[in-house]
Amino acid sequence: MSRVGVFVCHCGRNIAHTVDIEKVVEKIKDVDEVIHIESNMYMCSEPGQTVLKDAINKHNLDRVVVAACSKDMHEDTFRIATKEAGLNQYLTEMANIREQCSWVHEEKDKATEKTIRIIESTIEKVKRNQPLVPYQIPVTQKALVIGGGVAGIQAALDIADAGYEVVLVEKDSTIGGKMAQLAETFPTLDCSQCILTPKMVAVGRHPNISLLTNSEVENIDGYVGSFKVRINKKPRYVIEEKCTLCDDCVSVCPVIVHDEYNVGLTPRKAIYIAFPQAVPANYIIDPNTCLGIDPLICAKCKEVCEPRAIDFDMQPEIIEEEFGAIIVATGYTPYPIESIGEYGYGTIHDVISGLEFERILAANGPTQGVIRRPSDGKIPESVVFIHCAGSRDPAKHLEYCSKICCMYATKHALQYKHLVHDGTAINFYIDVRTAGKDYEEFYKRAAEEEGVIYIRGKVSELLQDGERILVRGVNTLTSEAVELHTDLVVLATGLLPSEGTKEISNILKLSCDNKGFVKEAHPKLKPVETAIAGVFVAGTASGPKDIPETVAQASGAAAKAETILSSDFMDRDPVIAEIDENTCGVCHTCIHVCPYGAIYYDEPLNKIVVREALCEGCGSCASACPSGSIELRNSTYESISASIKALLRSG
C-alpha cells in the first residue's frame, strides 16, 4: 500500500476558472491509497511548496501527485521540493490539468471530469514509480560553436576568455559571416568591417580557440556533458603553414567564377582568398571549378607557387571529438528575391538586393564605395528602396516581419544621400518599424533632416523603360497611384533560416518553428536554450534579429554553456531501460531496436546488458520485447496500462 498525497493547484484562476477544484478534491480524496489531498492557490509559490513539504512529513507520504501545469514548467520545482522533504524526487509526478485541460476547454463540468481522470491516472502511475538516483556523468570541459558569424565569434571568444577550450566550426573559408559583407551598421553608421575584424583576429590568435574553417559538422551523438561530434575538415588544397599570401597564384589561374563575397558582382578565380581580412588568412582552391583537382588538367598555380604551398592531393580530414556543450550559431540566408516575379530581379539589371547594395556601398566592394549601378556603371540620380520585399505577404511570400529590413533600408537611403548629395532616395514602406535603441532617431534623421522621401505603400510592378526603371505603386496615405522613374531599385528582403541552420537542426533533432528557425526552449524565459539540454542557440539561427541582439544572445549562450563546463560532473536522468534477467530469453530483439547501441549481448555470461550511460530512455526496446523482460523505469508496461484503465474508469 502506498501513501499518496495529491496537491491540486488553482493557478490563480487559470485552472479554477474552468475546473471545479472543490469537486475534484471531493472525488480524489476517496481514491484508494490517497492519504492526503489539498488544493492551493499557487502550488509553485514558496508557501505552496512548503505546504507540499509539510504534508509529506506530517502524513508520512511516500508518493506525491501535483496536479497543476505542464511538466516542462514545474516538474523540477516539485521534485526538488520533494527531495528537500526527504522523499526521493522520482516519487513525485505532475498531472497536467492546465495546458491540456483547463486552458483548452470551456465546459466546466466536462473539464472537471477530465481533470479527475487525469489525476487518477497519474496516481496509478506514481504508485508504480520506484525511487531512482540520478547518475553522475563526467563533463567534457570543451565547447563546440557551430557557425563563425558574429554570433559564433562572440560566443567562442566569451567561452575562451572564461578559460575553456572552444572549437569553432565554420563552413566557409573564413569566419566573419554576413556581417563581414556589410558596409556600415545602423544606427551609428559604424563601419562593419572595422568593428568586426578585431574580433575575427582575436578568434584567430586565442590560445583556447581551435578554428576549423571549410569544415562541416557531420554527426552529433551523446548528451549534455559529453556530445560526440564528427567534423569533416575539407581540404583547402593550400598548405596553410607554407602559404605566404603573395598572390602569385591568382593572376595565373584561368578559371573565372562569381565571387560569393561580393554577391556575384565581381569575378574571382578558382584559387582565392575571400577578402583581405579573412581569418584564417589563407588562400583556398574551390574544388568544384578548379581544373587541377581530379582530373589534373591545369597546374598553373602550382607551377608559380614558390613556397610549394599547393597540394592537389589533399584529403578531407575527419575529426572526432567530445564536447560538454554546443552553441548553434548558423545564421540566416536572405529571402530569394528571384521569386518575386513583379520586381523583375534577374531580368532588370538595376534591381538589386540589399546585400548587393551593401557590397556596392562598401569601401572594399566592387566599386570601392562609389555608388554605381550594375548595368552601365552610372552613378544613379535617384534610388528607390522597397521595404518588405517578400515579407509580410502570407499569400505569396514570407508571412513574418524580419525586423531589420526597415532599418537597413533606411541606412541604405542615408548612405546613398551621404555619397550622392543631390540624389533622390525614395523608400516605399508598409510601416516603418524602428524598435531598438536610437532606431527611431535614426529614422527621423533620415526622413526629417537628410531629405530621404518615405512613401507609404507597396510597389506593384517594376519595368525596364529605356535606361531607367519605371516604378508603379500606390501611396496609401493619399490613395493615389504612383508612377515614377528611377535609376536603381534596392529590395529590402527578409531573412530565412540558412541551409546550415536546417542541416544542424536535422543532425541535432532540434525543434524548429514553421519557418525553419530553431525553436527556443521557452520563447521568453529560455531564449538561448533549445529543447535539448546542453545545446544553445544564438543569433539569427533562431529568428531574424539585429547585430546588438545577436551579440547579446551569443554572450548569453556562452554564459549558459559555461555553467555546464564549470562543473566536473552532471546529473543524468535515471529513467532508462532495465532488464529482468530471470525472464529474458536472449532473443536480441532489443539490441536491433535500440537507436543508441545501448544494449549488447554479453557472450561469456550469455545475457543481454544495458549500457546505462548510453541509454536515453525512449522505451522502444520495452515495447518490442516479446517476453516483456525489458522495461523503462517508471514507465513500465504495467504503469501505462494502469493509467489507461484509470482514464477510462467510468464515473
Partner: protein, 151 residues
C-alpha cells in the same frame, strides 16, 4: 434537417479517446495549444510517454478492451524524433496493428496515428477535433460476441 440525420450524426455524444503524447514533440505541441488557448473537445484523455515508440501495441488493444471509443497516437514528425528513429518504429508497429484491428472488426476511424511537432499546436487541436467529430457519428465501441462492429 430531418430528425434521423441528427440522430445518426451524434450516435455517441461523449466518446472517450485515449491520446498518447510524446514528451518532445506532440506533448509540447499539446502544451502550446494550451498556452495559445486553442479550444478542442474534452473527450481526449492524455497519457504522456517519453517516445511514441514506448507505446506497446497491446496498450492500444487494452484501451479498446477497457472501453475506449478511439485511440490517437501522436509523435514527432519523421526526421524530428528526439530518439532518432522512435517514430519510425511506432509507424511500423502501429501500421500492422491497424490492419489487425480492422480484421477483428474495429473501424479504422477509431485508431489514428499522427505526427505533430512542438510548434504545430493548431494541427494538434484540429486533429483532435476532427477525430472527436468522427467518433460522435459512430456508436459507442462495444465488443460483441463475434468481436466485430460496424465495418
Amino acid at each position: 434537417m430531418s430528425k434521423t440525420t441528427q440522430e445518426t450524426e451524434s450516435q455517441n455524444p461523449n466518446p472517450n479517446i485515449i491520446l498518447f503524447l510524446c514528451r518532445w514533440c506532440s506533448g509540447k505541441g499539446a502544451d502550446l495549444a494550451g498556452t495559445s488557448r486553442l479550444q478542442y473537445p474534452p473527450n481526449v484523455l492524455p497519457i504522456m510517454v517519453n517516445c511514441s515508440s514506448r507505446i506497446d501495441p497491446q496498450h492500444v488493444v487494452e484501451a479498446f478492451l477497457e472501453g475506449a471509443d478511439g485511440v490517437l497516437i501522436t509523435g514527432c514528425n519523421f526526421g524530428d524524433c528526439h530518439y532518432k528513429t522512435g517514430n519510425y518504429k511506432t509507424f511500423r508497429r502501429m501500421s500492422i496493428l491497424s490492419k489487425l484491428l480492422k480484421q477483428v472488426g474495429v473501424s479504422p476511424k477509431r485508431f489514428r496515428l499522427t505526427w505533430i511537432s512542438a510548434t504545430e499546436a493548431a494541427k494538434f487541436a484540429k486533429t483532435v477535433t476532427a477525430m472527436v467529430d468522427e467518433l460522435k457519428k459512430l456508436p459507442p465501441y462495444k465488443i460483441n460476441g463475434k468481436g466485430g462492429e460496424e465495418l
